[in-house]
């Protein structure tokens, strides 16, 4: 009798573990959508490359800010 119960216990426990982890996975997916990753430091290599190229055409000047704009005029 106890062994029969253990089969049910194991099956329901496995389902419970799965359910809890699925819920956490879904919540995490939502969390990542709500708080998406933003590269706050920018692309340092790209900034250095643009600065280097700009200093050749405009000696004595440097770029202090780079803003990406896509073709529709929205910030990229």
């Amino acid at each position: 009798m106890e062994e029969m119960n253990l089969v049910l216990v194991c099956l329901s426990s496995f389902l419970a573990v799965f359910t809890v982890l699925i819920i956490i996975a879904l919540v995490m997916r939502g969390l990542i959508a709500v708080f998406p990753y933003k590269d706050e430091n920018g692309d340092n290599a790209m900034i250095a490359a643009i600065n280097s190229a700009y200093s050749v055409t405009h000696p004595g000047y440097r770029i202090s800010r780079i803003k990406e704009i896509n073709s529709r005029g929205k910030r990229g």
């Binding site: 106890e2 062994e3 119960n5 253990l6 089969v7 216990v9 194991c10 099956l11 329901s12 426990s13 496995f14 419970a16 573990v17 799965f18 359910t19 809890v20 982890l21 699925i22 819920i23 956490i24 996975a25 879904l26 919540v27 995490m28 997916r29 969390l31 990542i32 708080f35 998406p36 990753y37 933003k38 590269d39």
Partner: protein, 377 residues
Amino acid sequence: MDTFLLLIRNSGFSNLTPGNLGMFVIAGVLIYLAITKEYEPLLLIPIGFGTILANLPLGEMGAYMDGIMNFIYRVGIKTELLPPIIFMGVGVLTDFRPLLGRPITFLLGAAAQVGIFTAALGAAYLFGFSPQESGAIGIIGGADGPTSIFLASKLAPHLLGPIAVAAYSYMSLVPIIQPPIMRLLTSKKERAIDMPQAQPVSQRAVILFPIITGSLSSLAIPSCAPLMGMLMFGNLIRECGVTERLKKTAGGPLVDIVTIFLGLTVGATMDAEHFLNWQTISILLMGGVAFSFSTAGGLLFAKLINLFLSKEKKINPCIGAAGVSAVPMASRVVQSFVSKETMGRVNPLMPAMGPNVAGVIGSAVAAGVFLSVLGGG
């Protein structure tokens, strides 16, 4: 002369039993493996030496005797104090970003817990253990030492020594157990699946993860709160960026101190009377079954998920094997196996870390489920 004879009669030498000598050999093997093979040395050295202490006749150093080990056992293990503190340290030392960047790997961590339930059934059906003992034995398949100790101390304290030794021994044997199973259950083509990097995760999500996960899992399965709560607290002080001192202490000196007491006390439960019996052999056997089934479970579930994913999103099924926890060894084993099989072209270390840390959560939740169903908690 009489005094001298009395001293000899009352010495440990004259009270040594063959069982004590057998346990010295077992302790020697554990210490040897820890030193020469570096198999879980931080745990096996204290466990090995604790075993020696427990088997010194009249020394009263066993966990079930009246000395200081019994005190540490009652205060540290019977009260559930030490395993959750270790879990806090694990939380500090674990980076959950690979899991958050690919949430689907939560499912692999859940699937890899199948060995726990298979071994529990095997222990009950094949060896006649009680449901509580079977649950405690099954959790070895979670490949998580503190979780095994936590559950065994609640459901089957008399089996604590063999269960802890089986858990740590099999964790150290992951590099030997897993590769043949991965080779058997995957094709060359599957092993060569090169997964893209997981999406980067914002700091806000990383900070909210331990708060939400700790609360959600503990609300769903209250018995897992000691483990999940402390694991997630440790992770919060790691990620929040303003508790550097707490992070250093919890992930360094504190976890080291607790590891010493935990290891010594587990060793002290291994006196000849409690360890040298057929139950220990069957526990070791079921531990192997649990590990193998958990490895296969994670791997086969990854293959099942692949049936529903587009070609460019397919998962390398070998990373499912890392769902057995044993962080980070299982990930390293997957990385080493796949890299070797693909001549270094595919290196899934980071993708494997996702199911690997999900396995830690999965085994803690499984322990909580067993505790609430079998322990009346």
